[in-house]
Symmetry: C2
Subunit: 125 residues, 2 copies
């Protein structure tokens, strides 16, 4: 017997958290979103729960950097550039044709790329 699909409910908290990520420009962490929504009264546990759920539902993107998960309003595949001095993160297009360079063969089915360029940004030099 197949597992019954758990229905996702639309709550005030979920909407606010989604909007906060969609409106973000700095690849916020969970605590960044918590701070942004400070006067909403949303608990920190809900922030974590909904961020995970939104990623799972494909509404937002995520990646980890410096020991914490960062969230991304952009869901289309793309790469990042990070400055190792100031830890700022920029979005950048994936190199054209990168998927053709994937090590896919009959022993591994490949479906996602995580690409980050690390360097020093202009401001830090």
């Amino acid at each position: 017997m197949i597992h019954k699909q758990k229905v996702r409910r639309s709550t005030r908290q979920r909407r606010l958290i989604l909007d906060a990520v969609k409106d973000s420009l700095n690849h916020p962490s969970a605590s960044d979103i918590y701070a942004t929504l400070a006067d909403s009264g949303i608990g920190i546990a809900t922030i974590y729960r909904q961020l995970s759920a939104l990623v799972e539902d494909g509404e937002i993107g995520s990646f980890e950097y410096q020991g914490e998960v960062r969230y991304d309003p952009i869901v289309q595949p793309h790469a990042h550039i990070v400055c190792s001095k100031c830890d700022k993160i920029w979005d950048v297009a994936l190199p054209k044709g990168i998927n053709n360079l994937a090590p896919t063969n009959d022993s591994f089915e490949n479906f996602d790329v995580d690409l980050t360029w690390k360097g020093v940004c202009n401001d830090c030099r």
Copy 2:
């Protein structure tokens, strides 16, 4: 006045930790190394300290995956494949010419690539 260079001492602990990473095959975490060296009596703080120092000194590599830092005996630039089911990690060559695809321009000096392919391995299918 230039900062005085702090001299790195060669200790029993450092040698054992370096050897453990160099002999590893599974991209071990700090606690993996701690477990491997359980009967050496090395404290967990020293494991963390020396792993960081070894990375800083360019003796080993590191990257983060699933909320923890993994260490790598290979220091040459290379990519990883991870299985999202069993979390196993494989080494794989960087796509040839990837550095020519870097978004380097006069506002960002690029010196490192972090590339991970994510998929499902043969065993998990």
